[in-house]
């Protein structure tokens, strides 16, 4: 009888310990999250690449996306089934987003796949954190690199869609004295894109890691549903939305003015 009592009291003590601090130091969880050092080094002979956790996540993302896309586009039919119509609605939403930002139909057909690719890349990398793989955006190197790549792509797409003269015209819109501010925009945009993605995902991860240490039983899973899944989707959406808008802005401003608008402007200047 005495032994059973001892066992139960020991069990309860252990259990309370687990609930209280998860059996480990609180800072250990966060420390593990902040560990950006290389997991292993990939030796290519002439160059050694240090592979971090974020890079592993991104390798997996790049592997998952083609399979996912093949799965989504299997058994395509002219008369859409239930599953296919959901996918088609989402693609229609993407096209509509492009057209609302100022691209015409032909330009949307060219540009929408790029926007979709950016969306899928961030979305899958964020959602991998559900499998406790830690989203790549936790490492600040990923959002900064992605935002720099994104702004270069925006400029290249702007030149491709509206021509080089159109791009130059967008720099001096609406008036010529706005040129330094428009140039400054291309420095501020990537910074804001990178910080938004990094801050949101990193903040959520810190919160979840903290909760996992303090109350590991029920709360982290429920809150993780919002902070990791919901926030991951929203941030991917916002990043894509802003990319589309930046390109749409260049195209809209770089469009040649029709003679009627020009005449109207001249009349306004004269008056």
């Amino acid at each position: 009888m005495n032994g059973l009592q001892d066992f139960f009291s020991a069990f309860a003590r252990e259990f309370i310990d687990k609930i209280k601090i998860g059996g480990r130091d609180i800072s250990a969880n966060i420390e593990e999250l902040l560990d950006f050092s290389a997991v292993f080094t990939w030796d290519l002979g002439f160059v050694q690449i240090p592979v971090t956790k974020a890079m592993l996540n991104l390798f997996l993302t790049v592997l998952i996306i083609p399979f996912f896309c093949c799965f989504l586009s299997r058994r395509r039919e002219v008369k859409a089934g239930k599953f296919q119509s959901v996918i088609e609605t989402l693609l229609g939403l993407l096209n509509k987003l492009c057209e609302n930002s100022g691209l015409d139909e032909e330009q949307t057909r060219k540009f929408a796949p790029f926007a979709g690719a950016v969306f899928m890349y961030i979305l899958v990398s964020n959602l991998l954190s559900v499998f406790s793989l830690e989203a790549a955006a936790v490492n600040p190197a990923f959002p900064i690199a992605l935002a720099l790549f994104d702004i270069i792509c925006v400029i290249v797409w702007g030149i491709y869609l509206s021509g080089f003269t159109g791009f130059l015209r967008s720099l001096i819109a609406p008036k010529a004295f706005m040129l330094p501010f428009n140039l400054l925009d291309y420095v501020i945009k990537p910074i804001s894109l990178a910080f938004r993605l990094f801050g949101n995902i990193f903040g959520a991860s810190i919160l979840i890691a903290f909760l996992r240490a303090v109350i590991p039983l029920f709360l982290p899973q429920v809150l993780g549903l919002w902070f990791e899944v919901g926030d991951g989707i929203i941030q991917a959406l916002v990043f894509t939305y802003l990319t589309i808008n930046y390109v749409g802005e260049i195209v809209e401003r770089g469009r040649k003015k029709s003679p009627a608008e020009k005449g109207k402007e001249a009349a306004e200047a004269a008056a």
């Binding site: 902040l34 609302n100 804001s192 938004r196 801050g199 990193f202 903040g203 802003l242 808008n245």
Partner: protein, 75 residues
């Protein structure tokens, strides 16, 4: 440097930023709902604009979050 003062500064930074951002989001969405009720036919357009505005307001709070995290973990 004193660890306590750093923690205090980080907490103060995010508290002020989060409070003001919440105020701004409240004002923006309140006005948006008001105009949606007045003109239901343009509510779709207002919704899109509201989303963008909220994202930009939220970005300010996120900058404060990044700063306070830097304060906590870098210093």
């Amino acid at each position: 440097m004193d660890k306590g003062m750093i923690a205090l500064g980080a907490g103060l930074a995010i508290a002020v930023a989060a409070g003001l951002a919440a105020l701004a989001i409240g004002t923006a969405s309140g006005k948006a709902f008001e105009s949606m009720a007045k003109q239901p036919e343009v509510s779709g357009k207002i919704q899109g604009l509201l989303l963008v505005a909220i994202v930009f307001i939220e970005a300010c709070a996120i900058y404060a979050l990044v700063v306070s995290l830097l304060l906590l973990f870098v210093f």
